[in-house]
């Protein structure tokens, strides 16, 4: 049995230190003379006191309890856990990027502004949009920004009644949540038996109160909605706008563009499609692209160009304002820029071709072992149901946990909500056939175990640093910080 890892606070000992600071080289003044005592703290923050080696070792040991893309296959559906190229990490660390202040004079940051301007143009071309903002910090933040743009567009036209957003029942949870934060009511439309938007259901909810329709295409079942043009025309005829959730854009690079499908607003996840690392849950970046009618409403500033000089344009009277400090997650944007420049037009198309091929390969090879609710050509991900195994008392959660014993990160589970016992597998283009075959074999073995040795699946994982954790206890009696006893 592995030992518990100490918390950094438990390793602390007064007098140890991991810092070195220069002596104060200006005449020291009693702090009480600079700041009245009433403003000063009387209780110190109980921060750890450890040596530099202890600090480094602590975090290194913690890192070893994580599974990353470099550790092994990470087929987490909808998250596009592709390889994070090392050169991107290297270039993003150049002093000319990490050591520049956001309020430096524009003339001193021309390289940074040029990079932002160029990636904006490239993302516009990739999505078929007319203008991009790089300000949103994440996908959900991009959604929120896009929805604000949609609302502003209607209001500016004097169309004040449009306070509802339509989302499919297969949508990511962030879609309705973002719509609510943007002040909309949410209307849900059903999926049909093919997993696509039910056109009659969509028509029936359209009215002059509908501001827009949010769609992920390919959707969360990994299916491209073949009725996309008809959907767009239903929404547009009712006066609504089309919002493209770019979570699944890895399927369509160089193949089809949201702008050509009828979408008016798009967000992309640079941390999915454009290879920037997920960082254990951020930072991401969620640029938003719009068609020209919506450009005036984009957040300030926009990077613009005058003759040969780049500048930050704040003079945009119809702008929604700001959604974040400064200009976006610049360090993430540099990485995505490096990625697009490395791939070029043919490389990006190959990304989607191979992502789709890999997903279909996995779907095909596993469809006899796991129930595939919608048996059709998928795009970049496939969604299985664990229903077959459930009849033996083995749940999708059990299967996911058993995969950990094989060294894999499990697929996304229990999503989309419209598939029972869902397992959503997104291999990405980066993986080789050999990696896929090994993964397929592991899942086949688990399917076999579910029949012949279900206990080993139900009690999994067996090889991880901790076994299944009591999540109910964590929620019932929350301990969310360390307290010295």
């Amino acid at each position: 049995m592995q030992n518990e890892k100490s918390l950094i606070f438990e390793m602390s000992k007064p007098g140890r230190k991991a810092y070195s600071l220069p002596e104060c080289d200006v005449p020291l003044i009693d702090p009480d003379k600079l700041i009245n005592k009433e403003f000063q703290r009387t209780i110190d923050s109980e921060l750890p006191e450890v040596s530099e080696l202890d600090a480094v070792r602590h975090f290194t040991q913690l890192s070893l309890k994580n599974h990353g893309v470099d550790s092994g296959f990470y087929p987490l559906g909808s998250c596009t856990m592709k390889y994070n190229p090392k050169v991107n990490e290297a270039v993003a660390r150049y002093d000319g990027f990490t050591k520049i202040h956001p309020y430096q004079p524009e003339i001193t940051v021309q390289g940074a502004l040029k990079l932002m301007y160029e990636i904006g143009d490239m993302l516009s071309e990739i999505t078929g949009m007319d203008q991009i903002t790089l300000q949103p910090a994440a996908g959900a933040h991009g959604e929120l920004t896009g929805l604000m743009l949609i609302k502003s567009y209607h209001i500016n036209r004097g169309d004040l009644k449009r306070n509802k957003i339509v989302v499919p029942d297969s949508a990511h949870g962030t879609n309705p949540a973002s719509a609510a934060v943007a002040g909309f009511d949410i209307v849900e439309v059903k999926s049909n038996e093919k997993g696509l938007v039910d056109l009659n259901s969509l028509k029936s909810v359209m009215s002059d109160e509908i501001a827009g329709f949010m769609l992920t295409n390919p959707n969360t079942l990994g299916l491209f909605d073949e009725n996309i043009l008809e959907i767009a025309s239903i929404v547009h005829e009712a006066g609504g706008l089309m919002y493209y959730d770019g979570a699944n854009a890895n399927a369509i690079l160089g193949i089809s563009r949201p702008g050509d499908m009828g979408f008016d607003v798009v967000h992309l996840n640079l941390h999915k499609t454009f290879s920037t690392p997920h960082g254990g849950g951020g930072p991401g970046s969620g640029p938003v692209g719009v068609k020209k009618e919506l450009i005036p409403f984009l957040p300030v500033p926009i990077v613009s160009k005058k003759e040969n000089e780049y500048f930050l344009d704040y003079n945009r009277p119809l702008s929604i304002g700001k959604v974040k400090s400064f200009y976006g997650n610049f360090g993430v944007i540099v990485r995505a820029y490096a990625y697009i420049m490395s791939m070029g037009p043919d490389g990006l198309r190959e990304v989607s071709e191979n992502a789709v091929l890999n997903a279909n390969y996995v779907a095909y090879k596993l469809k006899d072992d796991y129930f595939l609710p919608i048996e059709t050509t998928c795009m970049h991900e496939c969604v299985f149901s664990g229903d077959k195994q459930k009849s033996n008392g083995v749940s999708t959660l059990d299967i996911a946990k058993r995969l950990l014993d094989f060294g894999y990160h499990p697929p996304t589970i229990y999503f989309p909500l419209i598939v029972s016992e869902a397992m959503m597998i997104e291999p990405t283009e980066c993986e080789t056939k050999e990696t896929l075959d090994e993964f397929i074999n592991a899942l086949k073995q688990i399917a076999d175990e579910a029949i012949n040795n279900p206990e080993i699946v139900k009690t999994a994982p067996h090889t991880t640093v901790v076994s299944r954790l009591d999540e109910a206890l964590a929620a019932r009696k929350p301990v969310v910080r360390f307290v010295r006893s």
């Binding site: 230190k17 070893l64 202040h101 390289g111 943007a182 976006g328 191979n354 994982p461």
Partner: protein, 445 residues
């Protein structure tokens, strides 16, 4: 075939054959012909790693970086010292290539780091519950305002005009779409105008938001307003510079219900404005209302301590439109950075950094005033940043300094027209006496 794609041509052919397709294009038959692009994307051709490095290096060297220039610019993003060990640890793939810790058994590293981060934020803020971090200080403050409206069922936010202009802009953007009204409270001598607050607070006031040290660098009189706010059953939201919390009374001690702030100063590169992290801590009462991820401690089947994402019923993937926020990620890697920073600085080093900022900024203030080129603006106490009034236009002054490789202070007049030629100067522990004297000398020329 690019270096980031796994399959060979032969692999592709054999895989296609096995699954019953003639060619790649037939995999895309569900995409209607009319929406196929049918041309190459019009973006630059692919570059080899060598070419890429050369081109990006050239872009980066067009920027004037703070190793070559001496920075007296702050205004929400600060040039603090970053210990070398941080980037080495943050560069471990197990941290940066992993996703949100949905599978706790193989994510204990990230989860324990966040638990330690939450603990440190609680220590700094003097409040009992912190989340796993938010996009940045401005969005954290805005989420706090929304949380206050939801939990008090009121719809008006009073915010000190001395709060960072960009934070107020972000709040205004969000508020506009949620029918939250935002009313600004004037300042006097650089601090919130208590009389103005008294006049404006009312039964619909969900929260009063104050930043301390505020945008002017001035320490606010929080204790003087806390009773007024609480007697009105409003929440007190305090935004703070985390470095200042080594020295100044914590939001918890001052009676704040919610503490937020920009965490960039905690070891994160200044990076042209992002990525940073916003921190947020709340009182016990607000624990189930707080937006974003929270990590909790629990045990596994063998009774060993472990960590999980908890209180998830607040979140969008469970609650959808009824969630406390739409936020899905946190800024995990930046929170890791902050955690390592606070670990390395430790209890004593953290106070030393704050004291160096305090000492050097006051020295710089005196030296700059002595040049005769500036007038004092406020007499209220400040921490690491201060406003003075330049006798020449700020633009001109900064141009002159730039030619001596100094990035000068912030032109406050942009946001506060009443503070004509207002000049906001930040002095961190990185600035030396020599640099300060050099700047003062250049100003005096």
């Amino acid at each position: 075939m690019t270096r980031y794609i796994g399959n060979t041509k032969e692999d592709r052919a054999s895989m296609l054959k096995e699954i019953g397709f003639d060619d790649i294009n037939s995999l895309f038959k569900s995409v209607p012909e009319s929406v196929h692009l049918n041309r190459r994307l019009n973006i630059p051709e692919a570059q080899s790693e060598m070419e890429l490095i050369k081109n990006i290096k050239s872009l980066s060297s067009e920027n004037f970086n703070l190793d070559d220039y001496t920075c007296f610019l702050g205004a929400g993003a600060y040039d603090h010292y970053i210990p070398a060990a941080i980037d080495q640890i943050v560069s471990r793939q197990e941290f940066y290539t992993s996703y949100t810790p949905y599978q706790p058994e193989i994510s204990q590293g990230t989860l324990q780091v966040i638990f330690e981060y939450q603990t440190m934020i609680c220590e700094l803020t003097g409040l009992p519950v912190a989340n796993a971090s938010m996009y940045d200080g401005a969005t954290a403050m805005t989420e706090a305002a929304i949380m206050a409206c939801e939990s008090t069922r009121r719809s008006e936010i009073l915010i000190a005009k001395s709060v960072h202009p960009e934070s107020r802009q972000v709040l205004n953007t969000y508020a506009k779409f949620r029918n939250i009204s935002v009313i600004e409270i004037e300042y006097t001598n650089g601090q919130i105008d208590i009389e103005d607050l008294k006049n404006k607070i009312n039964s619909n006031t969900a929260a009063v938001i104050v930043q301390s040290p505020n945008f002017f660098g001035v320490i606010e009189q929080i204790e003087a307003i806390k009773d007024m706010v609480h007697e009105n059953k409003s929440l007190l939201v305090m935004s703070a510079d985390p470095i200042s919390l080594a020295l100044l009374k914590s939001p918890g001690e001052l009676g704040a219900d919610i503490a937020v702030g920009e965490g960039q100063s905690l070891g994160n590169p200044i990076s042209f404005g992002g990525p940073y992290l916003g921190f947020m801590a709340v009182s016990e009462k607000l624990m189930r209302k707080i937006p974003g991820r929270i990590v909790g401690q629990t045990v596994d089947k063998e009774g060993r301590r472990g960590f999980v994402l908890t209180l998830q019923t607040r979140e969008q993937h469970i609650r959808r439109e009824k969630a406390t926020s739409n936020i899905c990620s946190n800024q995990a890697l930046n929170a890791l950075t902050a955690t390592i920073y606070l670990t390395m600085m430790g209890k004593e080093g953290f106070k030393e950094v704050a004291n160096l900022c305090l000492q050097k900024s006051h020295y710089a203030y005196e030296e700059l005033i002595k040049t005769g080129k500036f007038n004092p603006v406020f007499t209220a106490p400040f921490f690491k940043e201060f406003i003075i009034e330049s006798k020449e236009p700020v633009n001109e002054l900064n141009k002159k300094l730039l030619s001596s490789k100094i990035i000068g202070g912030y032109d406050v007049e942009k946001h506060y027209p009443e503070l004509k030629n207002g000049y906001l100067v930040a002095v961190t522990e990185k600035r030396t006496k020599e640099e300060i004297d050099f700047m003062a000398g250049k100003v005096a020329e």
